[in-house]
Every structure is written in structure tokens, then in C-alpha cells.
Amino acid sequence: MNNEYRPYTLIAELTYRCPLRCPYCSNPLGYAGHGNEIDTDTWLRVFQEAEALCVVQLNLTGGEPLLRDDLEQLIERASRLELYTNLITSGIPLTFERLSRFAALGLNCVQVSVQSSRSTESDRIAGAPSFHRKLEVMQWVASLELPLTLNVVLHRDNIGEIAELIALAERVSADRLELANAQYLGWALKNRVALLPTREQIETARTIAADARERLRGTMEVIFVTPDYYSVHPKSCMDGWGRRFIVVNPEGLALPCHLAHTLPGLRFDNVTKRHLADIWHHSDGFNQFRGDGWLPDACRSCDRHTKDFGGCRCQAFHVTGNAGATDPACSLSPDHGFIESARSQASQSAGVPILFEYRNGRGFAQ
């Protein structure tokens, strides 16, 4: 059977609510409030429909998924469907008892993010006191023998801490360390001038991460994700549009990536109205950028398009105004000048403190 368009992972964005206010949040800028979240039964059905499509991995994420009080039910069903289930969380608000329950119900692994290796800085970036609690949660994860991924979104103010971040990951016995440079979309694009590191910062961090990867091989996986503003070629965003991932957002929209619905002119379907398999195979939105019929000239004439699939559609739109353009991160894109000028802006403003615009709107329900 054709495996070209086969979803392996369901990314379940259970809520956009979050107690933190990180300035690079990947949620859309005008995110919805609590009232529009799909209910427990719908999620349980979506998991079942995803498994029927041969999905094998489930990411429970948000916002902050812990704010859903039906998380126990969701984990239990996922486990019964043999989905490899990953809880992606800030660790707030959580108790050891609740985490133990998740483990007993079949949760497979946990991903916690910190904003910095230093508590005051982490709390400043998160916009809320959170660092000490995160450390405690990571110790709970280890004590329950759940594999832990420590995720850090890198930007200009914390990329210099790379060695400390690696030491922190070792201290909390992380199984994986994701050092992921911010993707400049959504909130991060709004804050790009304050966030984008210089090339020198990136190169230094990359070297330290590469050394740690060798030293820790077999014990802890160290992953360093370069920002595509500094790569020659674009990323194969989501492993290609509608190939490997399904995102279902808090309102029930099924999407090829978490920001796809911010692209104008595309139609996406809601899981409350249409079966997931039907959406995956037949919906306009999922089929829009599949295959190579839509490819712009710069990609069609380049043999890398079978590897990067033309890059990120959202980045293409936010920079060029055309979601069907070559990702401007590519040096062959006619719009690559934008990326080059962002880089030179970063090197000019190196060392200058710039204030973030915090994610705002309806956050944590007090």
C-alpha cells in the first residue's frame, strides 16, 4: 500500500490556554478562548480515527494540556489504542499524584521545556514564575521512570547558555535534549528582531552541541535545530505537507501543521463535521501542497524538492505574501533578500537589549 501520504503522528493541541506567556509561542496570534474547545468524546473519537489511519504516535500538547481536566481519560484511551503517547508540557499546574496517574494509565513519555538554565531568566522569558516547579516536575518524571525530553527554544538571549543547558539536561537525567532555535512564525516572527541570534552565536552553540552529542551518545540524544534563517536550504517542514503529521487544534480543525489555518484561501475541515480519514485523503486543505503540481519554478527545477518539499508554506506566506512560493529561507528563492536583511539586522543589534512583546490574550484561567 502506498506509504507516501501516511500519517505517523497525531499532534493533539488540546487547548490554547497556558499559564506561561513566552514571546516565541507557536500558537497563532489571535488564538481562541476556552469556550471553543472540542469536548472529551470528540477527542476520544479522533484518537480512534487516527489509529485507524495507522497513526502510531500521539503528542498531547497545547497551550498547556494539563489545563484539560479530562487528560486522564484521553491518556487511557490512547494507551488502549497502543498509541505511543507523549505529554508536552510546561509542568504547570501538576502534582506528583496526577503524574503518577498518567504513568499508570499508560503515558509513554514526557517533554518539559525550560526557557533558560537560569531561574530568573527562565521566569522572565516565560512571563511567570515557573523554573523551580519545572525542575521538580522533571525529577518526578525521572522517579516514575518515564523518558524525559528537555526542550529549550533557543534565541539570542539564551543561546550563549548552551553548555549550562546541556549540564541541566544531564542533571535531570533527560533522555533527549532538544535545542531548537525558534521558528520565526506567529509570536516569534512578531518578536524576531529581539530573538534572532547572530551567525557567530549559532556556530558556537552548534559546535558545543555536537561535542555533547558525541560524548553522550547512547545515554542522551542531543538534537540541535538550526534556525532556517541561517541554513542554505529550507527545512522539510513537517516532513512535507500532509505526509506524516496531522494536527488537530483546540477547536477541532484538522491541519497539516499548527499554523496552516492562518494561510488565506485554504479550506480546512473540522473533526466534528467530517471523518479524519476523509479529511486526510480528500480535503482541499490537505491536498493543496501535496505532490509537485503546485511547486514554484525555483523548486521544480531543483532536485532538492524531493527532500525539502519546497520548505515551509507558512514562512513563504508570512514573508512573501504567497503561500505557494518557495520558502524564502532557501538561497535560491527570489525573496531570499528578506532573510539576508534579517540576519544583518541581527548582527547590527547584537548586544542591544530589546524588549519582548509577550504573548497575551486569554491565557491561564485564574
Binding site: M1, N3, R6, Y8, C54, V56, Q57, N59, E82, Y84, N86, N108, C109, Q111, E145, P147, T149, D175, R176, R217, G218, T219, M220, E221
Partner: protein
């Protein structure tokens, strides 16, 4: 004395975070672990299933050699060691380095 490398006395065991799952789409087994997975060949599946902590590396190779008489034992031993090293490099094995 440690049983570091030259597999003979090592008894590899899949890490508790690993799940083996049959994939209806391809008819193969997937070895799932945090955030990703590996699609296993038939031989790799047979090896993975013997990584219980009870079998030695030699024992695994001998067992497979009895089943696959068409393949030379040398080749099988090499395949077993290669696959175990792949798993160990990804942190998916205990009792083998």
C-alpha cells in the same frame, strides 16, 4: 570484569521506553520510542524480539542461523552486531555498548 563490547557475553535488553508495534499499513514491525520510531526489516524484528536480557549476543546469532540456513553464520553475526549497535547508539538498548 565488565562485558563491554565484543558481544558474546552481553545480554542486550530493549530499553523500557521502547514499544514494538505491528504496522497494518506495511505488514512490518515498528520500534517506537519518544517522538519517533524505526521501521524494522524481518530480521531486525527477529533480533529485537530476542533482546529480552536473557539471550546473549552469540545466542541470538546462533538462533537466527538455525532459522535462516540460507544465510552464512558470519553474515548473520555481522547483521546482529550492526543492528544492536544502531539501537545502542540511539539509547534503545540496555546491557550492550
Amino acid at each position: 570484569m565488565t562485558n563491554r563490547m565484543t558481544g558474546d557475553i552481553a545480554r542486550p535488553q530493549l530499553s523500557p521506553k521502547v514499544r514494538l508495534r505491528f504496522d497494518r499499513r506495511t505488514g512490518r514491525y515498528l520500534l517506537l520510542y519518544p517522538e519517533t520510531g524505526l521501521e524494522l526489516s524481518r530480521t531486525a524484528t527477529e533480533i529485537a524480539r530476542l533482546c529480552t536480557g536473557e539471550w546473549t549476543v552469540d545466542g541470538i546469532a546462533q538462533h537466527l542461523a538455525q532459522i535462516h540456513t540460507e544465510i552464512s553464520p558470519v553474515e548473520i553475526t555481522r547483521d546482529v552486531l550492526d543492528f544492536l549497535k544502531t539501537l545502542a547508539g540511539r539509547g534503545l538498548l540496555q546491557g550492550f555498548k
